[in-house]
């Protein structure tokens, strides 16, 4: 039978009543708290009994100090005098228990108690949550910038979309937690001053319970969609698990280093600097090479799988691959070409907001004179996104990858052209230095398509392309 056990400490920093109730329940089951950190609590087996617990906040104590301060020792003495024994001390949070049936509480002045909790919270809880909020906001803004730069690829992929949503949720959770604390504090001060009564915080679970699954979901979907494409959910889950483990290990490293440095009686200023940086370095050394390895494995495996589905051929002592994906529109649908050895690549993605299909049909290297065709067809499911997608696609059309850089803007133009051939609402053609190119942007009421022909396209071909696009985006 085990004589000790650990549990995860999932309480809000300032929710002392919930902590007390939990510790009293554990004592009734025969477990007494012996050690506490911000992550977990350690218990030792005792005779099951009814104990009273009191969580006391001592803001002057430092997390990094090697020894319990003389001031805190005096508080311990005061408490021991009234039958309150120290169960565990975790810097600003002290856990006491009392075996008496109806002991005098440690805190008998609600105003002082709220003041103490607030000072301890400002020192420990608020900086951590403010950092979390800054990190969440940074990620959210970064993702939004990525989204506005390329809304089509961003909003048509579940990975990026869910990742963006997850950071949005984390930002809201952090804001809610901080606002919740300040609202509670305001009410607690009022209640203490007017009624000399301690106002309990709202009975919401600690937000870490939401943050961890949200992060895990975000990492998993992002990885499944980006790195581990084609390798299945298990690989993505495993990698997301590793990422999350990196966060937890970093936290454990920090706490371990902190404990070690305090044991070695190093000055608090040294511990304050070395322990967080040490943990960050350990995290970097452990997980970045590991993540690099995992990502490489995924990329290699994805490449390998793609090659397995392709036909390899030799050209001028090099191996090339011709892919055989199904395409909704091919060169042979539009021209009389007799060439049959095209490489056809089709990629598609779809979310509730957008769907995007990209097709490429290119001849092999030994037949580069044969016509080629490239296109992207975007279906916009929510009308308010139409203009955003259109602006991006018209910019992409104008900045043709094939043109030498830098180019004066006036030299590259997307000019309106007759849309009736395409059966479209509007159509644009790329002009470089006044010369028309075979690159078009065609707009329908819920779809936009960019098509790059390798030949001068006829009205009949335009009609056929238009019909195909309309069929695809119905």
């Amino acid at each position: 039978m085990k004589d000790s056990k650990r549990t995860y400490a999932y309480f809000k920093f300032y929710d002392r009543s919930k902590m007390q109730a939990y510790l009293e329940k554990m004592a009734e089951k025969g477990w007494l708290l012996t050690q506490s950190t911000d992550l977990c609590w350690q218990f030792r087996r005792i005779e099951p009994k009814k104990l009273h617990f009191s969580v006391v906040y001592f803001p002057k104590e430092s997390l990094f100090s090697p020894n319990i301060s003389e001031r805190l020792s005096r508080l311990h003495d005061f408490c021991a005098h009234t039958g309150w024994q120290l169960a565990s001390s975790n810097a600003q949070v002290q856990f006491f228990y009392n075996e008496a049936e109806d002991p005098v509480p440690i805190e008998t002045d609600a105003v002082l108690e709220v003041e103490n909790i607030h000072r301890a919270t400002k020192k420990r809880f608020l900086p951590a949550y403010a950092m979390e909020l800054v990190l969440a906001l940074f990620n959210l803004v970064f993702q939004l910038i990525q989204c506005t730069r390329n809304p089509v690829s961003y909003l048509s992929a579940w990975g990026t979309l869910v990742y963006l949503l997850c950071w949005g949720v984390i930002t809201i959770l952090s804001l809610t937690e901080l606002t919740g604390y300040f609202l509670w504090h305001k009410r607690a001060v009022k209640t203490a001053e007017e009624e000399n009564r301690f106002k309990e915080p709202n009975n919401h679970p600690a937000h870490m319970l939401f943050i961890i699954p949200t992060l895990f979901l975000g990492f998993t979907v992002f990885i499944a969609d980006h790195i581990g494409q084609g390798l299945g959910l298990f690989a993505a889950l495993a990698t997301a698990g590793l990422l999350l483990l990196a966060c937890v290990v970093t936290l454990f490293c920090f706490l371990g280093l902190l404990r070690l440095m305090k044991k070695c009686k190093l000055p608090s200023a040294v511990t304050r600097i070395v322990s967080p940086f040490g943990a960050a370095i350990v995290c970097f050394l452990l997980f970045f090479p590991l993540m690099g390895f995992v990502i490489n494995c995924f990329s290699d495996a994805a490449r390998q799988r793609a090659r397995e589905a392709a036909v390899a051929y030799e050209y001028r002592d090099h191996t090339f691959y011709a892919y055989q994906d199904e395409l909704p529109l091919t060169v042979s649908d539009l021209t009389e070409t007799g060439y049959t050895e095209y490489s056809r690549v089709c990629t598609s993605s779809e979310t509730v907001l957008l769907s995007s299909l990209t097709g490429q049909e290119n001849p092999r290297k030994n037949a580069l004179w044969e016509p080629s065709l490239e296109y992207q067809i975007v279906r916009v499911k929510l009308p308010f996104l139409y203009d955003l997608c259109f602006d991006t696609m018209v910019q992409n059309l104008a900045h043709n990858k094939g043109t030498p850089e830098p180019m004066p803007d006036a030299w590259i133009q997307a000019r309106t052209t007759d849309a009736s051939h395409w059966g479209a609402d509007a159509a644009y053609q790329l002009f470089l230095g006044g010369e028309p190119q075979n690159r078009y942007l065609v707009c329908y009421d819920n779809a936009i398509a960019e098509i790059d022909f390798d030949w001068t396209v006829t009205a009949e071909q335009m009609k056929k392309v238009g019909e195909t696009i309309q069929n695809l985006t119905k």
């Binding site: 009191s54 009234t82 440690i106």
Partner: protein
């Protein structure tokens, strides 16, 4: 209304200061207050600790002896003045009560 610091004293503050008319160990106050009030007023150990710190900071008491972790305290003149003000306030309240109810 926010409680202006030491403009009025809570019952606990009042009795702690009263205990310190004579030099007294902090810990002994925990026993003296209930015995002085027949158990009507109890001061929690955490509350006592914090109040002693605040009284020291405000110059209402001073440390007289340090024996290891045990410290004894004594009321200062300023502390006496605050205590007297509180006493006068309580007397005035009692007087007001009497003047109302003894008239009946």
């Amino acid at each position: 209304m926010p409680r202006a610091k030491f403009q009025t004293l809570t019952e606990q503050m009042f009795y702690i200061l009263l205990c310190l008319k004579n030099e007294c160990y902090g810990m002994d106050i925990l026993d003296r207050v209930p015995s002085m009030t027949n158990g009507r007023v109890n001061v929690g150990s955490g509350t006592l600790y914090n109040l002693l710190e605040q009284f020291l900071d405000a110059g209402m008491i001073r440390e007289t002896k340090v024996e290891g972790r045990k410290r004894s305290y004594l009321l200062t003149d300023y502390g006496k003045e605050i205590l007297k003000k509180e006493y006068d306030r309580l007397c005035a309240q009692t007087q007001d009560y009497r003047s109302i109810f003894e008239e009946e």
